[in-house]
Symmetry: C2
Subunit: 522 residues, 2 copies
């Protein structure tokens, strides 16, 4: 331990720096002033302001998915965490490492009944795997080190550290050493051997990958196993990060709609899970079985969340004597640029035709974007980030975080595909894009509907929605004008009325050195 004369706040920030936390996404308040003052003095951490806390938490999520290490958030008391919860929900489902720092009143102030008193631990607990209120300036550095260690624990956890104002402002802070990241345990050899036997059985087998098994070396090796054994690689519908495109092992996404997913999976007698859960529909429907795999499908876990997916996949390749070099990768091929009136297929073709190499696609396009993955499967290699928890309103800020994570790694353009309904929840992220000059092209599919709900209404067997239900599913009357909204937050924007328009604006977006937004009326 390094002992200096500093207050708790400074020891906290210095410990974060020691733990290689490089970015703080924040919306601070009075109870965090001393932490802001410490950040003010220590330029090693980049501070990024969000004008709403749901922007802050989803940005930290997007950052960690790309950087493979935690950012921290700095939030104001219970309501600050509250505003961030929905995207903490999504982050927790993505197993995103994250360190939340939440200010609290001075300990001796809590005996008064003042307006901002709340049960911060209670609010943070549902999404915090690790949770602590720091008790003294001397312990704060150590608490922060533990929070970082917890966040880094495979497959990634949300750690929340609550910092009373007097703990932050009192002298006696001690910077703690942060232990290096330890490798997660390798999967059990019996689990590996059983998976190998399944793959040698000749039965149709699906391998459902998740987390970091969906990119890099793990995906490459899984691809080789698939080639050697005839198994097929799948990703769950809620994708945290998927590497794909020309030269990458093909992975099929389990579809959202129950009947489509059942059809997709019906031939598989066996499924091997790598960090994933057995695929089940998001929602139950009266009289329907929500399990997506066929009855009797033999479900086997190769690696549980928290185990080393790469080690498990490599051990499986060894057990099968799979050799490197026998990849079957997506070919390199782009759709040609389409013309004419806007269609969902045409929009997808434009994206397939123009997506830059190394792009990051953030996808919350909902019902409007269902053709996007097919149209981009053979585009140059790129990463695909999705909504992992089903709480809509993640795309814009997730794009912010992804762009900031990759700001130093050459030119990784971000394409953010969002539905209009989804984008409204966290529209404030556009302002952060503008302030930080992020190279994000946002496409808003403006169908003026919560189209999913319209569909579900009939699907759940309650007939056709009447006018009062439609009022709750249709978000027109008045129509949202995304060109105005974006301009209001400093993001240049345009509305397109043909596929030529769209292609030109998309290109302009990819060439731009700052954010742009394209509204696509549907």
């Amino acid at each position: 331990m390094i002992i200096c004369a500093m207050n708790g706040a400074e020891s906290l920030i210095r410990t974060l720096i020691a733990g290689r936390v490089e970015v703080c996404f924040t919306n601070p308040g009075t109870s965090e002033i001393h932490l802001v003052a410490a950040l003010d003095r220590l330029p090693e951490i980049r501070c990024v302001l969000g004008l709403f806390e749901g922007v802050v938490t989803a940005s930290a999520d997007g950052y960690a998915r790309m950087a493979e290490k935690p950012a921290c958030t700095l939030l104001h008391l219970g309501p600050g965490v509250g505003n961030g919860l929905a995207n903490l929900h999504n982050a927790s489902r993505a197993h995103t490492p994250m360190v939340n720092i939440i200010g609290q009143h001075a300990t001796y102030h809590l005996r008064h009944d003042t307006p901002l008193i709340s049960d911060i631990e209670g609010i943070a607990r549902p999404y915090s795997k690790w949770l602590r209120t720091s008790r003294s300036a001397a312990e704060l550095g150590h608490d922060a080190a533990e929070a970082i260690t917890a966040a880094r624990t495979a497959p990634g956890e949300i750690a929340t550290l609550i910092v009373p104002a007097d703990v932050a402002w009192s002298e006696g802070g001690i910077v703690a050493l942060v232990p290096g990241r330890t490798a997660p345990p390798a999967p059990d050899m019996h689990a590996v051997e059983r998976a190998a036997r399944m793959l040698k059985s000749g039965l149709r087998t699906a391998i459902l990958l998740s987390g970091n098994a969906l990119y890099g070396k793990a995906l490459q090796t899984a691809g080789q196993i698939a080639v050697a054994t005839g198994a097929k690689l799948f990703a769950p519908y809620p994708i945290s990060r998927l590497e794909r495109g020309a030269g990458i092992a093909p992975v099929e996404r389990v579809q959202y709609i129950l009947e489509v997913a059942v059809e997709q999976l019906k031939e598989y007698r066996q499924m091997i899970l790598v960090g994933a859960q057995p695929p089940v529909a998001y929602f139950a429907a009266p009289g329907k079985n929500a399990v997506l795999t066929p009855e009797g499908c033999d479900m086997h876990t190769l690696a549980t969340p928290g185990e080393d997916y790469l080690a498990g996949i490599e051990a499986l390749a060894d057990a099968l004597s799979v050799r490197a070099g026998r990849d079957v990768a997506e070919k390199s091929e782009r759709p040609s640029l389409p013309h004419g009136a806007i269609t969902l297929q045409g929009l997808a073709a434009c994206v397939g035709a123009l997506l830059p190499e190394n792009a990051i696609v953030v996808d919350e396009s909902m019902t409007s974007g269902r053709g996007m993955m097919a149209a981009t499967r053979s585009a140059p290699p790129h990463d695909w980030l999705g909504n992992t928890g089903g709480s809509i309103g993640i795309a814009l800020p997730l794009a912010v975080g992804a762009a900031i994570a990759c700001a130093r790694s050459g030119h990784r353009k971000v394409l953010c595909l969002t539905a209009d309904g989804s984008a409204m929840y966290t529209n404030q992220a556009l302002w952060t894009m503008a302030r930080e000059g992020l190279e994000i092209t946002t496409v808003v599919f403006a169908n003026r509907d919560y189209a999913v709900l319209k569909r579900e209404f009939s699907y759940l067997g309650v007939g056709e929605p009447g006018p009062r239900a439609l009022d709750l599913f249709e978000i027109g009357r008045p129509d949202l004008d995304w060109v105005h909204l974006a301009k209001g937050m400093g993001v240049p924007a345009t509305r397109v009325s043909s596929l030529e328009d769209f292609a030109r604006e998309l290109w302009k977006g990819f060439e731009s050195e700052g954010p742009r937004l394209i509204e696509v009326p549907l």
Copy 2:
């Protein structure tokens, strides 16, 4: 009990109707479809869509403050409540009656690990005085009746009822009778007698009112007591609803800034609390005493939250033999319309000059609006609603709820005064104003700052903020353009550059049959 053949959802909505719940503020999802279907069939409840749940909960708060009865909200699973929490925090501090209906997955679906599973009870608990997950269609109506009863319990509570989808869609629903609202208990006679003795003692005495003691008969009687005894009426800084203006008993608001409040209260040797807590600064500061009353100030509770404030005040008037008719009310007087360049004082004078009779002022103008109450004290009678919990982002949706509550009671124009930083958190409320055609004039004070934080930085003794701290306190770069933002959500808007402009636009707003927004660059 009335037994009909209906599903749980219908029994729930019919019980709400039986309990005189007339408005449902909502942002529903798939798990609430059967509840939406029931609302679709039953037009007695007006459904109001918000495009973000913080809009929904604050609208329900604004509604209840004016209607003096609960609205219900309908929210989607854990993330839906999460998004609503910050304004539930404010509502809980306002003691607002509210019934939250939260959808949950079908009970048998919870054994799967699907993306939207969350600890809904855990998320809702910190702000729900009454909380239950309904177990069956047969019990749902009864649960709803209990929730309404809980919400109505004085001084007003937040009740949260979680409804699994299969409980909603199963047959066997039973509409429950909702017991009439019972009067809260009257304060203890000893408390009344002690208060009477204090007021007769000749010592300077403050009476700190809250809740429904700040309007109507209770305020009028408190005003008579003040006249008879020389006591002074105060409201806490966080005002839920204050009736004021010409002809109304004058009430002074305890100021936000510690030193100002201490000065304001320094002569009072005694304080009588009516539902209020002893006044304490929002935040602790190193080396400062947060208690706002002078040392040795004799603090006495006439009525605790949950007791009948009106009965307590009337009993006190009786004990003091205070006679009606001896009111000292605010005189009727308006400032004259100012001219020239924009100043905070000039803006306040314009509001004072033009505020319509019976207006509802929703005030979250923060540092920019500190002159507003002084300039309007002798304006025609009006209600003043404030931020009660210190979680900023309440004004726009609070105005929505207040406007809807008063839609049927003649022409009550709503003036919504908001800071730019605050308004961003729940900017989606503008869309609801447009959709519902609400007569709300929103004034955005655009100082491009979290000005409170800039001030607190120096105040807390950490020197002057450096450039990195200023980046977190200044919300310009780029400037938010509220004219574009409002237009993007269907609200006509304009930017003013002089006091003449402001007065003209304010007038236009008050004359308008729908919402308007005025951006005031500062």
